[in-house]
Amino acid sequence: MSTSEPLHRQLGLTDDELWSIRSTLGRDPNRDELAMYAVMWSEHCSYKSSKVHLRGLPVEGRSVLVGPGQDAGAVDVGDGIAVVFKLESHSHPSAVEPYQGAATGVGGIVRDVISMGARPIALLDPLRFGPLDQERNRWLFEGVVAGIGGYGNCIGVPTVGGEVQFAPAHTANPTVNVMCVGVAPSERLVTSDREVHEGSLLVLFGAATGRDGIGGVSVLASSTLEDGAGERRPSVQIGDPFAGKLLIEASLELVERDLVEGLQDLGGAGITCAASESASRAGLGAEIDLGAVPLRQPDLEAFEILTSESQERMLAIVHPDRLGDVGAACERWGLSTAVIGRLVRGGGLRATFGGAVVADVPARSLADGPVYTRPMVAPAEAEDAIADDPTFATVTTPPDEAFLAVLGSPNVASKRWVWEQYDSIVQGGTVMPPGADAALVRIEGTLKALALSTDGKGRFGALDPYLGAAHSVAEAARNVACAGATPLAITNCLNFGNPERPEVMWQFAQSVRGIADACRAFETPVTGGNVSFYNESGSSAIWPTPVIGMLGLIEDHRLAVRGGFTGNGCWIYLFGETFAELGGSEFAEVVLGSLTGRPPALDLERERRLHRLLIGAARTDLLESAHDCAEGGIAIALAESAIAGGVGFAVTLPGDQPGHVGLFSESASRAVVSVAPERATELEDAAAKAGVPITRLGETGGPGVVFDGLFETTVAEIAAAYEDAIPKLLAG
């Protein structure tokens, strides 16, 4: 970044964007105004490259209370209860400073949920790193996990799930996404529909404002990380989970006592964003006195106060009559409040500092950034990679060796090392803890439980972004359905490289189309999400990584189905069919060293029939266990059910496919279930009625793991391989 560049370019604005600001204002913006536009029109805040594509997502549905565009989406789960949820990226800060980057990611998404008036009840963390044989990747992985725990464990919100995958494409740029789920009485949701009055006060509460995270969104989140990323460390915000916990309690008290007209968290772009959004949503303007903002150090300049991303701050819109109550409630939680401005007629956002006007711009113009239709082109290598399919490769590795290799692959192996560092039980509602297909969290005072799953199919997306994204939605829905819950809606985090490169933009558009088609088929609307671009260094971008956060509902959590075998003598069935589909599979990468081929086909209607069957079977308490069949195929699904239940099995794989295809094919729309023998006929009838192929594989029982005609081992042996893999890699 050369200092001889004009200021707007140093701040990340293009010449065209400067022209647009000039025409809006009818004059040149001053330095402080330029800083405000730079953060608000950054890719991170404005979605300028993604907006045209996101319009294609289905956002409406029977249960949707709040769709995209607010701090978080909200869904009606009946009995007057709203569920608020959102998934967001904090990858860029985490690549620079893994502990604080991840910790503040948790803090930020939690504030998004509380600003809707909801109590956070669950966190999930989908993560992607480079291979663990490299020291820097281990440092990033350990730091991010510790940071998530360090923040999440201190605020009393259980971390109940997520997933971790490893791929060379994520070496320079790890992907750190965080999902938060909250609940609130529907009538208490703080939405933009609330009546907000002219003359109401802008009250800042929580931590003081410092120089941390100045321009975080424009500097870090909206450009690629090149050499010298360490110099950007001052742009990483520092989290204080203790203050975060107090902020949760104080904010919820304000909402429960109906003391605020609006609530907004201060995240990317700080006060500028919170004030301009609050004002423009209400069709009003705002006057802010920057001198009234409590500062951590005395010498901050106006633009720094306007754009600081200091953590643990919230902005409330408060009627003057309620100011005393708001102050007292915050003080009880040890938080200071400051009136920093008021809502006024007109649409202007006017900031003064020391009596002088430092900025005076239309509030809406900050929120309505530019919209780009960027050029797109399919990467030339994509077709070649697809054509080179490993499905029909000659395989010489014996099946038992291949099985242990896949089971011990970091993508498949137990993530216990990760989730044991997270408090997964606080609040007392975690019915199904981490390690299952979906986490299940009870809603207090009801029998209802939320089934939560995050999924992103890395390799499939790398080979075919459309199919990879659709598979991600399908797997997330299947995970929820395996627990017996009905998929209701999704949030997403779309992690991609540099959108100014046509190949990346093509991947993005394809992925969004894949999500849209799958969500339409499953009737799971998109209630919001986040786009994270510029995840690349040099010309090496991350894989297209759309991550889906699925929300499912089960009316009676006592009917939830778990993944582990429950005892001896149950009959094991496969729902769905296995085809010769090894392209992009775990087997292909781990055993054949192949990252090419055609990902498995996905028939959305067939997939939906499977979900219906699983949900119906749970409702009639038909299943002993159900487990999604995904990475590593039937072999790994059976192994995980055996390890989780501590019960062995003996199976015969159907058909006349080669052993490795039957074991490891990753065909979609399948699940491995077990049933008490006396109810087997009932299950077969249910499958026939649902139009889902069903095949009996064998029986549970004993300490042995038997794939008839292929190999035999024991539960103890496979459990050791599964549990020890990641700790061993970390030991170096």
């Binding site: 464990n153 201190c154 007392g428």
Partner: protein, 240 residues
């Protein structure tokens, strides 16, 4: 319980307490009356027993429990304990009681230097404590732990005294009751999970019995601990 009076169990909320609602719920589920207590008050609201819950009081800044022990309510808790009232410290509450000098020993960073959340088994070592009054030594209970700083330590002299005087209430063990090795989640000295004071009315433990009373969310090793707390409290109050 012969008396149909429900024992009133106070749960103190400090800034940063996290498992306070869970402790109140557990008291209710087990048949007691949960009473909310506030750190800044000098008032125990006439409760029959006090629980200091888990969490990160004051962010655990400085040292776990080091700031909380100066909270106004702690003067009341100290007086209550000296008068023979039952006081239970869970996790962060245990750390606070050690910092306040109401229990021997200290809790330092887990030996593996990582936070740990998992279900463990503990063996009851003595029935002399509010949480084990109805239990017999040797019983094994399944409860969860979740902490970054739960490694119990004491000076060699103190550790000798703790063992000699039978102050160890719970010890980490295998499902069959054997101590040592992989069953100790934090490297605690002598696998100590919980201790009591000499008088036997103050007890602290790292595991979370309040998260082990509901079969829908896991094992129920916390039930007999809460049952002991309620019955021993009621017995004491009735005798007074």
């Amino acid at each position: 319980m012969s008396d149909d009076r429900r024992p009133r169990i106070g749960v103190v909320t400090f800034p940063g307490s996290l498992d306070d609602r869970d402790a109140l719920r557990a008291v209710r589920v087990m048949g007691g009356e949960g009473v909310e207590l506030w750190h800044a008050d000098r008032d125990l609201r006439g409760v029959d027993a006090v629980i200091l819950p888990g969490g990160f009081s004051y962010g655990d800044y400085l040292r776990c429990g080091a700031i909380a022990r100066f909270a106004p309510i702690m003067d009341e808790v100290r007086g209550f304990a000296e008068a023979g009232g039952s006081v239970v410290g869970i996790c962060n509450g245990f750390q606070i009681l050690c910092e306040a000098g109401l229990l021997p020993g200290a809790l330092i960073r887990n030996r593996q230097l990582r936070f740990v959340c998992r279900w463990v088994d503990v063996r009851v070592e003595t029935s002399v404590s509010p949480l084990s009054a109805d239990l017999v030594a040797g019983e094994i209970l399944r409860v969860p732990v979740k902490h970054g700083e739960g490694q119990f330590v004491a000076s060699a002299g103190d550790l000798d005294r703790i063992e000699r005087d039978g102050l160890v209430v719970f010890r980490y063990c295998s499902p069959e009751g054997a101590t040592g090795g992989p069953h100790n989640p934090n490297g605690a000295s002598n696998a100590i999970a919980g201790v009591r004071n000499e008088a036997g009315n103050v007890v602290g433990l790292m595991p979370h019995p309040e998260h082990a009373v509901d079969p829908d969310v896991g094992a129920t090793g916390g039930q007999p601990m809460f049952a002991s707390l309620l019955s021993s409290t009621l017995a004491r109050v009735s005798a007074a």
